[in-house]
């Protein structure tokens, strides 16, 4: 079994968001978001609950489409192409933009089948599957722990292992971007640390956008940080500022950002 060469997407996986808004039915939840997400880097979305972080994240792989009555306004460009254009198939977009969820959610099948699910969906030939599975598990830093038990049921893994399996599963479609919605919040500190290490390893070839409640985590792992806020229930949430993570945490330009990261609210 030889691992195929990992494709470096150093130049792909850049998002440009222009005046993005999201409405659930008649209620506008999020508006006026202008944001550039740099390729091959980690961007953290932080802010108090209800500030639209997860909503914004779900726009990037069009998972909002699945919720029913959701309207996304403005333009979202992935490497220059509008992902909400008429001719874009969300199914293909989601191959390029993977997602890892808050709670580990492996499928009720074997470890191998979990990782192979995405590639099989997209018709990757059987001959390449073993290599692809190994490569994905390696990139998610799970290979050494599971290589002898690939046939084992995924539910027999610990929570942290399950989450890394979910990362491997998402990586197996070779996405340019990986969206992570509080991927470590349901895990113990050690597993959480492992996930952070994995993210640090991955960012050289995958763009990562991570929603987190944990500010230390955002400070540790991200290159850029975007602070979002919904100031009152009468108004939609929005982006307050986005900058290099070090800048945001040491010298934020907006008073509200400073108040939040110093723990005065939220």
């Amino acid at each position: 079994m030889s691992a195929p060469e990992t494709v470096a997407h150093a130049k792909c996986g850049a998002f440009d968001l222009k005046d993005v808004s999201v409405a659930y039915g008649d209620e506008v939840a999020l508006s006026g978001v202008d944001l550039r997400i740099e390729p091959a880097s980690v961007t953290a979305l932080i802010g108090p609950s209800g500030c639209g972080k997860s909503t914004l994240l779900r726009c990037l792989n069009r998972m909002n489409d699945e919720l029913g009555d959701v309207t996304v306004g403005g333009r979202i460009l992935l490497d220059g192409d509008d992902i909400y254009a008429r001719d874009v198939d969300p199914v293909e977009l989601r191959m390029r933009v993977g997602q890892v969820f808050q709670k580990p959610n492996p499928f009720p099948m074997s470890i191998y089948d979990n990782v192979a699910y995405g590639p099989r969906t997209h018709g990757v030939p059987k001959a390449e599957m073993d290599g692809l599975v190994e490569d994905s598990l390696r990139r998610a830093a799970l290979w050494e722990e599971v290589k002898a038990h690939l046939k084992k049921h995924a539910f027999e893994l610990s929570g942290g292992q399950q989450q890394r399996l979910c990362i491997a599963r998402a990586l197996a479609t070779r996405p340019e971007v990986l969206l992570m919605d509080e991927p470590a919040s349901a895990l113990d500190p050690i597993s959480s640390q492992q996930i952070e290490d994995t993210i640090a390893e991955l960012k050289s070839d995958v763009t990562i956008v991570i929603v987190t409640h944990n500010m230390q985590q955002a400070a540790r792992i991200s290159d850029r940080t975007a602070f979002m806020l919904r100031e009152s229930m009468d108004r939609p949430a929005g982006l307050v500022e986005v900058a290099d993570t070090r800048l945001i945490f040491t010298n934020p330009s907006d008073k509200r950002t400073e108040a939040y990261i110093t723990g005065r609210f939220g």
Binding site: G68, E92, L93, M95, Q99, P108, Y117, T173
Partner: protein, 257 residues
Amino acid sequence: MLSAVGLLGYLLFRGLPALDWRFLTNMPLNDVPGIWPAIVGTFWLTAGTAAFALPVGIAAGIYLSEYARRGRLTRVIRLSIANMAGVPSIVYGLFGAALFVMLLRYGLSVLSGSLTLACLTLPVIITSTEEALRQVPSDLRQASLALGATRWRTISKVVLPAAAPGIVTGSILGLSRAAGETAPIMFTAVFFLTGLPKSPFDKVMALPYHIYIMATQPVKPQPLVVWGSALVLVAGVSIVNVAAAAWRSRARKKVRW
């Protein structure tokens, strides 16, 4: 619970003396009367019911759980299913006689009987499929969709396998109820004394109907045959139910959330 045990015990007590090989394999008019054609008939009627009710019922359950939007149409569909479940079985019998036997000219046959029983069983299968699908966490659907799987692939590869134990259990319960029904087949499929069916258009004997006829015969009542037939019917249905339950508990061990 107590009544189930009591019922089963009494049934064993009265029916067991009737059971021997000849009773199971002889024709009813042999010197030693047997119930073989009734066993065969009930088997075919139930198999036919499964053939019609399972695909339609499971498809309807998938539609309702995974595709239907909340709206007036869905409400009407749900209401009809609830109503179907409440219709007395004799009404299904008359409906089947009017539609399948007379209008469609399938005559008294396995086909007519199976279709009628399928109508009776559909609501159970639809409802249990829908319930089983709803129990599958939406996390799994999200994960599959986020990997770029289509809705149908998500359902067929992830959701349905996870819901399979519930669907199978519900379907078996529905089918075993159908196997024991008398009224729906009375005017659509069965005849008191007839040979083994050679095609789906033949009439058949069936255990519940045989019990009914034997128990209501004015002359020469044959209590042993009645109890024996009842025991065979209940035992057959119970074996299938227990097998389904055992399979489900094995499958459940693999799937937990």
